[in-house]
Amino acid sequence: MNGTLQRMRNIGISAHIDSGKTTLTERILYYCKKIHRIHEVKGKEGGGATMDYMELERERGITITSATTNVTWNEHSINIIDTPGHVDFTIEVERSLRVLDGAILVLCSVGGVQSQTLTVDKQLKRYNVPAIAFINKLDRIGANPFKVKDQINDKLGRRAALLQVPVGLEDKFQGLVDLIRMKAFYFDGPNGEIVREEEIPPELEDLAWQYREELLDTVSLLSDEVTEAILEDRVTEEMLWKAIRKGTINREFTPVLMGSAYRNKGVQLLLDAVVNYLPNPSEVENIALDLDQEEKAVILKADPSLPCVAYAFKLEEGPYGQLTYIRIYQGSLRKGDELYNTRSRQKFKVGRVVRMHADHMEDIEGTGAGDIAALFGVDCASGDTICSPGLNYAMTSIYVPEPVISLAIEPSDKLSADRLARALNRFAKEDPTFRVYIDPESKQTIIQGMGELHLDVYVERMKREYRVEVVTGRPQVAYREAITARADFDYTHKKQTGGAGQFGRVIGYIEPFDGQYEFVNEIKGGHIPREFIPSCDKGFQAMLKKGQLIGSPIIGLRVVLTDGQYHPVDSSDIAFQMAAQGAFKQAYKKARPQILEPIMKVVVETPSEFSGNVFGSLNQRRGIIVSSVEDGTYSRIEAEVPLSEMFGYSTVLRSMTQGQAEFTMEFLRYARLPASLAEQLMEEQRAKLEAEEKK
């Protein structure tokens, strides 16, 4: 283990896509002497950035899976998780955040707070992750860190203040003025590795004092000591560092730093800030649930001498077997230790323990509380908790969104079916938002995920990593069915065909319900014996899997059983299941069912000159334009659009805006499908059923 707990940081780098976080990570690795040469994203020299370790990521210039790596800065051990920025891969971001103690929120000095920044910011807040902001790309035309700082306050609702002001901007960007030390810093040498301290240039003095005052005003809200010191004019650097650290860890304050990773400026000062302001693992409270004591919450202590509690947050299938990334919250683990997976209730022996560096790894003997490492050959799923034998804890499980899109796939040749199965098995294990099933009717393999790009990436990975060419069908939207009115049922299932008969009668009603499904038993007087009530529930639930309109799952339904009848000999579990199914069929159509479609929240960011075209394109797609926020030359248009209308939108948007606009989308809610489209779907379903009957 590198250093003690106090000298350890687990941080993530979160940002909107294209804010330059991979470039920033690359520079961090370089200045921490983990790599000896800088590669750029989409580099011409044949190599992509070190953190984008998959071939596909290099080609597309985007980060898909998080790579974790360990660096040392000022005698502090920092584990960095590079997180993907696209909303389709947010499960990766969420998993990373779950195990982090702090984050760097990267913003573009031109784009400022963009749609994805809002999503990432929400996630940071959900997992109570303290953050420092880094305004990148100060060398770009239109860079305005002051505006971005205001946006962090206004749009993200954070209490933020600048810790630095720039010396020059755009192509004249040279260095930074530190508002705590009141010194200017420049970054010399071919890769900015030599940090030179100077006096503040006279022309920047007024600006620097103005923003220092703003910083002091903000920090004084966090610390009485600083407030008093300001009044008595005796503020020290240490006092400010301490107050900023406290404010950041308590998530009351967001320090704002800046620079240009691409131009090698400002990264070392950012690393200083990571060490100075973000918490060490012992400063963050982590809670586990004790499964032996009715899930009572237990506070974990980052003490290496206690029994071990670790959380598997990421799996990867490599050429040498499964690699499991873990965060250790309590105790320590070493090679040869025996550990216990509390979900599968299986014990296992720790084989190899490694520390990851992008795509190469370093073998270590073991490590302790607070650290992130990877284990080899452990059979577990992501989200599992691993403990020392004797403990039976589970870390709070992470939130997993439901997939909204599905795609039928088929290997182009029968020989690769095996490899396809292996690939699917691995992806599903690694990513809980990626699901696979075989459609019982069509016998097709269906993959499900969070969006078109999400599934595209997996189809590409099948090709590249498993050499499986697949033929894909048209992406299918995950429709649902729901009833809109109450309807009564009174159904008797009766069968007498020699031997023991079947008899069950159920009376009651179904009605719309706010949640997924509810079963209420209001029978008094034992008209249906208690042991058959669960059979009724089971029978109704079986019917929810496939609605009668288009065969989609039914949501938002409550069944209330008010009466019934049984036969002392002929009633059975199966008879009441059949009765419930018959009752459901009887009531469903009367309950005015309708088809629901997933509606996505779509955010388009575009130069304002194209906003008319964007409005038009969203309107054409049955979208509701909720708002458009204009900020100088850019517009951020928010709309609600049915997912089925969004296929291929990225191509349309690109050609409409000369490639200058981008969009993100995420699932918002289910809404009623317009009658004409519903009719069309039902017609297709009828045709499908008829065709199947003929077969």
Partner: protein
């Protein structure tokens, strides 16, 4: 239709009936008062009145966050729906959302040409056929005769009605003898209707101070309930 009934009973209709020259396409109206008296509540109720009739509305805001504006609509819709016992509340709500677009301009000194260009983008290529434009947070304290002339021309060309809010500030007196806010006196040629909001014994009264060519300090038979922020007839 429930919505029609709701709209017909709306105090906004009472307001319009009181205007001698009526109100409609090509007109610019203003609600003026100090901050926090209820201008935005009045604007949103005008918008809701149009939305109940399924007429699309564009809400232009210079200051507030989008979620803040939406919450104004949600609050007042809920109160109106509660008052009128709307049965298909959700359905009407969804239609309202569909017929409303919020345009938010965050930058200080955003040019009126740009604002009109964005509205045009929505009306033209965006196929959003609004006839009512609500403008909240416009700064009348900056010289803006030229801007208002542009709004006026745009309203006439595109057959739109505009409703503004004007936040009054500074020391008293804010109004002249006729009840006209001093800050609006230079812009009378562009503004057709000026209504001021005034605190009066725990109530908020509405005064019609400019009705097209007439300057008259006429107390309207309308007030804003300070509790619910709904306009009611007296």
């Amino acid at each position: 239709m429930v919505k029609k009934i709701l709209s017909a009973r709306s105090p906004i209709k009472t307001l319009e009936k009181n205007l001698k020259g009526g109100y409609g396409p090509g007109h610019l109206g203003v609600f003026a008062s100090r901050k926090g008296v209820g201008k935005t509540a009045c604007l949103v109720q005008i918008a809701l009145d149009r939305l109940f009739e399924e007429k699309p509305v564009i809400h232009v805001s210079y200051a507030s966050r989008v979620d803040y504006i939406i919450s104004w609509y949600e609050e007042l819709f809920k109160k109106l729906a509660g008052l009128e016992n709307l049965r298909s509340e959700m359905e009407i709500h969804d239609r309202i959302v569909r017929n409303r677009v919020i345009l938010n301009f965050r930058q200080e000194g955003m040019k009126t040409e740009q604002v009109l260009k964005s509205i045009e983008a929505l009306l033209g290529p965006g196929h959003f056929s609004a006839r009512t434009i609500i403008v909240d947070g416009f700064n009348f304290y900056l010289p803006c005769a030229g801007d208002l002339a542009l709004f006026k021309k745009f309203a006439a060309d595109r057959q739109l009605e505009f409703w503004f809010s004007c936040s009054l500030r500074g020391d008293d007196p804010l109004f002249d003898d006729q009840g006209l806010p001093f800050v609006l006196k230079d812009y009378l040629s562009s503004l057709d209707i000026i209504i001021t909001l005034e605190h009066d014994d725990g109530r908020v009264r509405l005064n019609l101070v400019k009705d097209h060519d007439q300057i008259s300090n006429k107390k309207l038979r309308l007030e804003l309930d300070p509790q619910t922020l709904l306009l009611t007839r007296i």
